[in-house]
């Protein structure tokens, strides 16, 4: 088969497409009320949320990301595990040869923000983040992947 016409293909990729974000909670703790709120914020901002919910692992998230061709990973971490879990997720993504950005949501002490940034986490959203801020951050992450 012949490849698609170069110009037409270029025009195609230029067109805006909905951002696809995988949303998951890492670790064994808790409930997913907060994560559901974030999911609705993102949907209401026009994004497509692939919702994985609770008790996900680095591996289960990676599986979803590759099958769903997600643009962004949104991770909720709520038991102080962010310094180990978030960098591990970033590492795992890079090990697959891609650079799907990781956005972390949760309570992260200010002193840890820089370490997460150094580990390659794209952004951290605290519990007080507004819907607009959440959507803007995830969009910015998606834009960077492309």
């Amino acid at each position: 088969m012949s490849g698609p016409d170069g110009d037409a293909a270029g025009a195609e990729t230029e067109r805006r497409q909905p951002v696809r974000v995988v949303l998951a909670k890492l670790g064994l703790d808790g409930h997913d009320r907060g994560l559901k709120v974030v999911a609705r914020m993102l949907r209401d901002a026009g994004l497509e949320v692939i919702y994985l919910g609770l008790r996900q692992t680095t591996e289960s998230i990676l599986l979803a990301v590759e099958q769903e061709d997600a643009d962004v990973i949104g991770l909720s971490i709520h038991n102080g595990g962010h310094l180990t879990l978030a960098p591990r997720m970033v590492e795992a993504v890079r090990a697959t040869g891609t650079d799907v950005p990781v956005v972390v949501g949760g309570i992260v002490p200010d002193v840890d923000l820089e370490r997460l940034a150094e580990a390659g986490v794209f952004a951290v959203l605290g519990p007080g983040a507004s819907a607009a801020e959440v959507a803007r951050t995830v969009r910015a992450a998606a834009a960077r992947r492309a």
Binding site: M1, G3, P4, D5, A9, G10, A11, E12, R15, R16, Q17, P18, V19, A39, L42, R43, D44, A45, G46, L47, E48, V49, I50, Y51, L52, G53, T57, E59, S60, L63, A64, E66, Q67, E68, D69, V90, V93, R94, T96, G97, T98, D99, P101, V108, P109, D110, L113, E114, L116, A117, E118, G120, F122, A123, V124, L125, G126, A129, E133, T137
Partner: protein
């Protein structure tokens, strides 16, 4: 305490993929396709994105996939929200996988008509999707275009088929025309209801009861399941398509009870199709339907992404100089031409 895009060093660009470029180069459909056929899930994930977006890349994928598709058995799983379709799909996939089938799942959910966004939550109920040897699961939002969705879903099915899956389950919410359209090109359509007549009434309104090759009363752990089965059987007594009476299975998707029986019904129906004298006719109908959908897409594109010439034509109609039927006749000659992207605003899709 909210950090925006984190301060500090930006992450290094990822190392190149061991077997070549990461699948981001637009247009490299052939290479991606080879990788997908070799079992590379990421390549398949990217091709599905092209398919979903429509346009020239989607066409290239469709052209590559078609000669290699045709072996898979396609099951439509439909029913009202909450009846347990995702949970049941997961169980069915497990039973089939244990029997040696390579399974893929396409889970279609509606986009918000207001914002265009969507929450695609079916994977939550698909435990096997989170295990390495599990089925390939793709979630798809309707993106507000009914004909387009039916085409995108169908094209995704052909791609999953060409990539070597031999059982493809398409989950859709059984509430509207789109679902009926999707079900129409499945080989076996399962309509799921839960105890009580509510779901069945809804399914009936949507025209789904007539589409069913197999009925499932899920949540059979609840009161009223056998009543629901009896009611469905009664309805079938009153009439059904010649040659195949849809069986009515009882399942408890949360425990897996009845999933074996359901898979057996699927296999029986597949066998029925293969031996049916009407099989050639059915295939011909499917092919015609598929071509019709692509044709529709060309027509829609002609109108939705008008070129300067088409806009001039519309203006003539608006001024009363040309009848709409005459304009349509002129445009019919242009169906399938790659539009010149000269109209102002043709590329300005609304912000998502």
């Amino acid at each position: 305490m909210t950090a925006g895009p984190a301060a500090g060093p930006t992450p290094e660009r990822a190392a190149p993929h061991p077997d070549g470029e990461p699948p981001t180069a637009p247009g490299d459909v052939t290479a991606l396709f080879e990788r997908a056929r070799g079992g590379d899930r990421r390549a398949l994930g990217r091709l599905l994105t092209y398919t979903e977006r429509g346009g020239p890349l989607a066409d290239a994928v469709a052209v590559a996939a078609w000669p290699l598709a045709g072996a898979a058995h396609v099951v439509g799983m439909t029913g009202a929200p909450g009846v347990g379709k995702s949970t049941l799909t997961d169980r069915l996939a497990q039973v089939a996988a244990d029997d040696g089938w390579r399974v893929a799942i396409l889970a279609v959910d509606p986009s918000s008509p207001l914002t265009g966004g969507a929450i695609l939550g079916d994977r939550v109920r698909m435990g096997s999707a989170a295990t390495p040897g599990g089925p390939f699961v793709r979630s798809m939002a309707s993106r507000g275009q009914s004909g387009g969705l039916a085409l995108a879903a169908l094209s995704a099915v052909r791609l999953l088929d060409a990539a070597g899956h031999d059982l493809i389950i398409v989950e859709t919410v059984g509430i509207g025309q789109v679902e009926v359209d999707i079900a129409r090109t499945a080989d076996t359509t399962i309509v799921a209801v839960s105890p009580g007549w509510g779901d069945a009434v809804q399914a009936n309104k949507a025209g789904l009861l007539e589409m069913a090759d197999i009925f499932v009363v899920n949540k059979a752990d609840r009161a009223g399941a056998t009543d629901a089965r009896r009611d469905l059987e009664y309805m079938l007594d009153l009439g059904h398509r010649a040659g195949w009476r849809p069986p009515v299975a009882l399942t408890v998707a949360t425990t897996g009870e009845g999933a074996d029986e359901l898979f057996k019904h699927v296999q029986d129906h597949r066998q029925h199709l293969r031996t049916s004298s009407a099989e050639a006719e059915r295939r011909a109908r499917h092919v015609a339907e598929e071509v019709r959908r692509h044709l529709h897409r060309w027509v829609d594109q002609l109108v939705e992404q008008p070129t300067r010439q088409t806009e001039a034509l519309f203006a003539e109609v608006a001024q009363g100089d040309l009848a709409p039927s005459a304009a349509a006749q002129r445009l019919a000659g242009e169906v399938g031409q790659v539009p010149e992207r000269d109209a102002p605003g043709a590329d300005d899709e609304p912000e998502v």
